[in-house]
């Protein structure tokens, strides 16, 4: 499960640290103590920044780094598609062998395919993604009510 890509992101995380955002969420994985504070800044439909801070295992840390790399700069709709694809992969219990199409969508994130075989670790990989989804939804719903 510890692909080099994952270890690389773990040791050299992208975009780590908290910067300005339109919404902030705090998610935890109570069973292992993983935590993340994550902020999203949108410019219209474009994701301008995803900044984060937290503690956790290599999988959750690397996953946040990959998320930052993948989603910043994308439109929300596309980012959602990426998030859903990643979720699908992680819930596959090792049954999905990522093909080229999936690799095109997920880029580095396909390295997490192996993690999906470890039920106890799937939550680690998903932590930052769930936080991102939540934060984005908050920004959008605040906009609506504003």
């Amino acid at each position: 499960m510890y692909q080099d890509v994952i270890l690389d992101h773990y040791k050299h995380p992208h975009g780590r640290g908290l910067r300005d955002g339109d919404a902030e969420v705090h998610h935890t994985n109570p069973t292992c103590g993983d935590e993340i504070t994550l902020r999203v800044r949108l410019d219209g439909e474009r994701i301008e920044d995803v900044s984060y801070e937290g503690q956790g295992c290599s999988i959750s840390q690397a996953s946040a780094s990959v998320l930052n790399e993948l989603l910043v700069g994308k439109e929300v709709a596309e980012a959602r598609k990426i998030q859903e694809t990643f979720l699908e992969l992680m819930q596959s219990k090792g049954q999905i062998e990522p093909d080229d199409a999936m690799e095109e969508v997920l880029e580095d994130a396909v390295a997490f395919a192996g993690v999906s075989k470890y039920p106890a670790r799937v939550k680690c990989a998903l932590l930052s993604w769930m936080a991102w989804k939540d934060a984005t939804a908050q920004v959008l719903s605040e906009r609506k009510t504003a």
């Binding site: 069973t31 292992c32 103590g33 993983d34 956790g56 106890a120 680690c124």
Partner: protein, 418 residues
């Protein structure tokens, strides 16, 4: 092989445990160091359970046919064995539950529904400690929420012991019950029973002891403990899943109200009202875990045949060795007492910045099974400002070779994430 005095003949013992031959991850023989979570089961126990189902299986009590009589004799015989194992003054003080958690909830609920002088209510206080297993925290939190009683606790010292310095302020005249763990499942700490019991008795509080990590590992004598209730669980002491024990003092069991209602726990039922059977049956509603009690009886026989003193000695020697070796690992920090004195065989630690999940996973790849996380004792992690620990825990079949494997494994973990 390292030679350490005081060890058991683990070569012989390991033959009793089929799972210890299990090979994982392409050819690695398992090194099972997760005994504080659950123990493995010897053939002797599995055979008795099978024999029960294949020859004697029936529902207990009230049956006039052979199988029902045999099943009842085996079930009640298991109660005798457990009573002897913990030196209970009476077999009727041994209640079979499904696990230690149910045992502890049973006490909390009894005290919530009790009449005076036992009743826990808004004018009273409950005392626990910061090193309790969640199963000895949440029942008291629920009781406190539901009755208005105040929940208080003993904090921890930096070296993983109970801070009893303010014992007179923590346990007061208002205290109705003091519940604490005999051996911590996360820190390994063996707690000073006498000091706590003495103070509790001064103020007339009942004492509940969570012996889940003690019963499997050392001689347990409920009379010398001086407690009112003692809880433990079968699966950690070579017994099957699905069986726990609550020992309680007879007068209390007589006076206190039932918890679960149903078959077996009644004396007579009409639609308008019911009366209850004497203890222990009063607290055993429904068909009990019969085969599991019988299995626990066999486990107790097995442990006794080896000798609880000998097991304690073995684990002590192994713990001493493990602590010494672990301290040689760079960046490794023990969470809990740093010597083997007054200490059980569960050893928690952190390894630099490497998250315990990663430590556990990389150890697992080498066939080494440890537990990582908060070990159902999250307040301890909060207390020491860590998200989680890695825990290695030993039992009567654990060997110095397995300690060595752990140390090597940890070296590999460090290199991997270094």
């Amino acid at each position: 092989m390292t030679h350490i005095p005081g060890l058991l003949d683990t070569d012989a013992i390991r033959k009793d445990f089929p799972i210890l031959d299990r090979v994982v991850h392409d050819g690695k023989k398992i090194v099972y160091l997760d005994n504080a979570a659950t123990s493995q089961k010897p053939r002797q126990v599995l055979e008795v359970i099978n024999e029960y189902y294949e020859r004697h299986n029936a529902n207990v009590h009230r049956g006039v046919h052979v199988l029902a009589e045999e099943a009842t004799a085996l079930y009640e015989g298991a109660r005798d064995k457990v009573a002897a194992f913990i030196n209970a003054p009476s077999r009727d003080e041994v209640i079979f539950t499904k696990n230690a958690s149910e045992s502890l909830n049973l006490v909390a609920n009894m005290l919530g529904w009790a009449e005076e002088p036992y009743r826990v209510d808004r004018d009273t206080e409950i005392v626990i400690t910061e090193m309790e297993h969640h199963s000895n925290i949440v029942p008291w939190q629920l009781l406190s929420q539901r009755t208005g009683a105040k929940l208080k606790w003993f904090g921890l010292t930096d070296d993983g012991r109970l801070d009893l310095s303010a014992i007179e302020e923590v346990i007061t005249e208002k205290t109705k019950v003091v519940s604490f763990v005999l051996v911590s499942n996360i820190l390994g700490t063996v707690n000073p029973v006498e000091a706590i019991v003495r103070r509790a008795q001064q103020v007339g509080a009942l004492v509940v002891i969570d012996a889940s990590q003690a019963a499997p590992h050392m001689p347990l004598d409920v009379q010398s403990l001086g407690a009112d209730f003692v809880a433990f669980t079968g699966h950690k002491m070579c017994g099957p899943d699905g069986i726990g024990v609550l020992w309680g003092r007879q007068e209390l069991l007589e006076d206190l109200p039932p918890f679960l209602g149903g078959g077996e726990m009644i004396e007579t039922v009409s639609m308008h009202s019911s009366t209850y059977a004497p203890a222990p049956h009063k607290f055993e509603a429904g068909t009990p875990p019969i085969a599991q009690a019988v299995g626990l009886g066999a486990a107790v026989d097995y442990l006794t045949s080896i000798g609880m003193e000998r097991i304690a000695q073995h684990e002590h020697a192994l713990t001493e060795y493990a602590i010494k070796r672990l301290q040689e690992v760079p960046d490794l920090k023990l969470i809990g007492p740093v010597t083997a004195e007054d200490r059980g065989a569960a050893i928690s630690f952190t390894l630099g910045d490497i998250h315990p999940h990663d430590v556990g996973q990389v150890l697992d790849e080498q066939g080494i099974a440890v537990r990582v996380g908060h070990h159902c004792a999250r307040p301890v992690c909060l207390r020491y400002g860590i998200p989680a620990t890695t825990r290695a825990s030993f039992y009567l079949y654990s060997t110095p070779g397995e300690v060595d494997a752990l140390i090597e494994g940890l070296e590999h973990v460090r290199n991997f994430f270094g």
